[in-house]
Amino acid sequence: MDAGTIVAGLLTLAILSFLYRDNPVYKLAEYLLIGVSIGYILVITWNNTLMALLFEPLLSEGRLWLVAPLIMGLLMWGRFHRRTLALSRIPIGFMIGSGAGVAIPAMLYGRTLKQMSATVMPLTDSSGVPDLAAIVVIAGVLTTLAYFYFSREHRGAFGGVARVGTFFLMVFFGTTFGYTVMSRMSTFIGRMEFLLTDFLRLTH
């Protein structure tokens, strides 16, 4: 068994020990995870971002226009002092402005227009037979929208429609919760498989 497997096995057990109660072994594993993660992200950021995209092209290849993002990046450090705080607003403003400019049309198209067009579909197929899926989708969208319409009291027929919307919401929440449980179980099963197969070698 290699050292990596032993370390991974012991750390997995240390993390699982939290299920009994908080303890120093768990804390050690937790701090180790945080420290290693931050260290790893720092190294990746330094190598793959700062060196690869900024310093090497700027210093080795002479791409002088990269001075502009370098200055913008340096201005962000202005946040650490009261007198230079205003300078940091220049790159922040640039990021918010360009970010919003890129994101708003993309999100409007991808999350609203395309989803609306997928909702508006024929309620019957080509032979005139009702399409149950299409009916459920349109009923779900309209009744759920009714539930989130707060300019009118949810009473009478409108209240009934909004109440149907809550059932669709419940189905969504239930499905999402079910999938989340499934996901967490998968993670646990993955670790148990590692412990039983690679670490303890009880199964193949």
Binding site: L19, Y40, V102, A118, I189, G190, R191, M192, T203
Partner: protein, 270 residues
């Protein structure tokens, strides 16, 4: 030693259920869902040698679930003779993606540089997706190990998404959404998803609107995919444990509700 509480018995029960079912080593037969089949059929339909971009958009913590998902689809792609370009839009997924590609490529004797290349991480995922739509070479002048882009036979013929058959986003969060909103909407690249189960309901509407071409989700998706390609893996191995764990959770929910109603009835009597 403290007295064990109800939650301890709950955890212990779950650990026993999963350990016993895994030691039994029984493989459950899985019914393949249309979504997973669509993903399989798309990769199967591509001519050998097609270029696929695989984006490892996940963190290290989701590796136990991501690993069987990624391995099954990577095995299929390598077995079919497709050429893969690996990227990562989350720093934590970078090394995991590299190792997964390396391990799977070795199983099929695929060579780095001609059959697959790993380009690594780029920050600001939206900017990275948009930049690759213009030029992958400019976005990644070097590969993950620092070697120049044009050194690799595979990359010489790849300029942008026009030269890529599809992007497969292996994700544990919402990053696949950005591939659809920027890669698919703006550059028309086909987006495929291989995601954790928790994200399945997030991406369902995108499948319905055809913004995502196909998707496999969770350990179950991995088991289905393994069945389709006829190669056993972590998905199939974990399905009995997964099903047993779900039955255990259902049992706990039923017991919890019965206890609640019994207690409520007793409270009314008092």
């Amino acid at each position: 030693m403290r007295r064990l509480q109800a939650r301890h018995y709950t955890f212990l029960g779950l650990a026993v259920v999963i350990t016993v079912t895994m030691l039994l080593n029984i493989r459950l037969d899985t019914r393949v869902s249309p979504y997973t089949r669509a993903l399989h059929d798309y990769i199967e339909s591509l001519p050998p040698g097609s270029v696929l971009m695989v984006s490892f958009d996940h963190e290290a913590s989701s590796l136990p679930e991501i690993r069987p998902i990624a391995r099954s689809v990577l095995r299929h792609a390598f077995r079919k003779g497709h050429r893969l370009i690996g990227v990562s839009l989350l720093a934590e997924g970078t090394l995991i993606g590299y190792r997964l590609m390396q391990e799977t490529a070795a199983e099929y004797g695929r060579q780095y540089g001609s059959d697959y290349v790993y380009l690594g991480f780029r920050p600001q995922y939206i900017a990275a997706i948009l930049a690759m739509g213009e030029s992958i070479r400019d976005t990644y002048p070097r590969d993950y190990l620092g070697r120049p882009y044009d050194q690799f036979e595979l990359l010489r013929s790849v300029e942008n998404y026009d030269d890529v058959a599809a992007v497969l986003s292996i994700a544990d969060g919402s990053l696949t959404t950005h591939w659809m909103e920027y890669g698919q909407a703006r550059y028309g690249v086909v987006v495929l998803g291989a995601v954790t189960a928790a994200m399945a309901t997030t991406y369902d509407p995108y499948l319905a609107s055809a913004q995502m071409h196909a998707m496999m989700a969770g350990l179950r998706g991995a088991a289905e995919y393994e069945k389709l390609i006829g190669i056993g893996g972590g998905g199939a191995r974990g399905m009995l444990a997964q099903s047993s764990a779900h039955l255990y959770v259902i049992l706990l929910i039923v017991l919890g509700n019965v206890a609640y109603f019994v207690r409520r009835r007793e409270g009314r009597r008092d």
